[in-house]
Amino acid sequence: MKKRFLHVLVLALILLLAACGGDSDTGGDSGTSDNGGDSSSGEGTSDGESAGEGEIVEIEYWQYHFDSKVKLIDELIEEFEEANPGIKVKHTTFPYDQYNERVAAQVPAGRGPDVINLFYGWVPRYVDSGYLQPLPQDAFPHDEIESEFFPMVEAVKLDGEYWTIPTAVRTLALFYNKDLFAEAGLDPDSPPTTWDELVEYSIALTKRDNNNRLQQAGMAWEPSQQGHHWFRDALLYQAGGQGLSDDRKTILWDSTPAGLEAFKYWLDFPTTHGVAERDFYTDDVTAFRTGHAAMNVDGSFRIGTLQNDAPNFEWATAPLPMKDHRSTQSSFWSNGITSGVEGAKLDAAVKFLQFLTTDEVMERWLDEIGELPAKESVALQDKYLNHEIYGAFMEQLPYANAHFFVDESQERDLVIQAVDRVLLQNVSPEEAFEELVEETQKLFDNYWANR
């Protein structure tokens, strides 16, 4: 009797398992067919109709979520669809922090965008993974890209191909607080233009209390924010140093004394001159915005934030102070086409990319987002060069550098580590710099060895 009951129980369990299994199977099926339905209906219509009438092709565009960019892209998509009745663009955004994760998570699932917006420093990794396809040369001839766009765009030229193309670029410049300039007896309309002046000004702008604690920093100084870029792409070249060898395999920072000179100059702000402190009022942006730091090196992407926050002081921008040469750092987000896209979809994607790189879109991008046009002819117009805020960023574009990152986050960490070694562990700048070059070179060796 008891045994019998057990059998029943076991059997019931098996049945239930089977049923559940079946359920979850069917659930899974219906799930995939749902999703499949979505995508396949998209594909179905596109395939079917491209085969038949060639009416509606749907492409998917991904970018990270930045309110003004989302808004503008939505508007642009509408206009694009109007001009190209056969094409529909689906716009998907993800939070910046999770962008790479979301993309990565979609790869094994075999789903994802047709056109994707990527930070230029991520492009090598995406190219290596076979995620992107080169931009078709008939639509984007290399000589045209090279003559029309700023030279920094070459950072996304790998294996002799361009993989992505930007609408807009950004550069670093000096932000300064005019009120604090006036208070310190400096002329608010003549910002520092050389290395030495920058130091003099920042000393004049620094205030300490009776206990010798920093109250107002002459210079905001944050290696983890734009600081590492300032050193790598601006100070180094300004001192006459070099970045990478032409084949992009060797770090040349220590090939001339200029590298160490730039590194020391940069570190002197918090050490020798005592005009800056790391994490002063949590970070450089906050410190500048709240009037606790008189100057900051920051990107053109900060203009919007500052205008929206409307700090209660007058501020202005100026080109980065220089030494023997001019240089600034630049970076950009750029759009590429993923590798699986072909046929009618590819044509649609190319058209969309061409639309996003027209002069008109670039001008609107500047007006609404504050990022600088990627084409010389658009950026270097008088109305922009003479603009009181954008002018400083624009005029630096022709000599801006975009470092070729093999691993953006690790290269950044190495610079921070070198700074920490000097500031916290009393290692000499020479030794820390040597380590920095060595460790960064290792990343590059590793990258090229795996290709």
Partner: protein, 317 residues
Amino acid sequence: MAETTTTTTSQPLKPKPKKRKSRLTLKQSKYLFVYSCLLLPLIFYITIRFYPTLYTFNIGFREWNILSPEKPFVGMENYVALAQDPVFRKSLWNTLIFIVFGVSGQVVIGLAIALLLQRINKFVGVFRVIYFIPYVTSIVAVSWVFRWLFMNNGIINEFLVNIGIPPQLFLNSPDQAIYIIIGTMVWQALGFQMVIFLAGLENIPKMFYEAAEVDGANSWHKFKSVTLPLLNPTIVFSVVIGSINFIQVSFTQVVNMSVNAAGGPLHSTITIVVYIYQLAFRQYSMGLASAATVILFLIVLAITIFQMKVLSRKFDY
């Protein structure tokens, strides 16, 4: 077996279910219901937790840059690379510091508060609420409040300067940062520990204390010979929970409180979970990250077994 199975399968289908039905008593059908209800979470657990866990073991032996479709098998290479990686070793060491200082701090202070609260009669509820509030506060909010307190020109440095002590680097210092983060975590977990210990203390029969008093024991003796042994299961529980908590939850605190949001300065606060996250989603080395996860799994397993075996001795009076 097969025969019985076939007979039983046909049972529900038989035309005369009345007789069969009577075989399942009310109690039995109740069990059937309970077991089938319990099965659902089990299936969920297997597909959502167990299968990915096994998959992690598999990936640990492969090289996989998360974006690429290929995952070549590389044997033990990931484990060798981790063994040679100074940052990984540092993260293991930091995790150990987190567990040792965090758990002991949490247990000792939690027990002390519970003992004190047991002695008072007035405002017990108020104190319990005050001590418990941090536990139900968002970790991110707490982390940032502490971060601001310990800022270069924050209130704590202000206080130190006023009493003539030079300002400290605190979270910027590779020597101090980890202990500040541990302190924050201990402070936040105190409420939970307090509740557990209060419950444990309630369960100790009064007569043991009375008997001890008759024997002339002072409070220290009572604590040592009655409270502590009888509280042992509670202590083991809280140590196990605390250790696992410190291994897992340290992530949010470290990410929010370390200066570069990644276990800095100079990797002085990086824990194994933070490093796993960085390997997986910053450097996209899923193979390395999976291998590190397997190592973490083994550590958690070892700690749990050790604590179960060594700390859970039974005391009986």
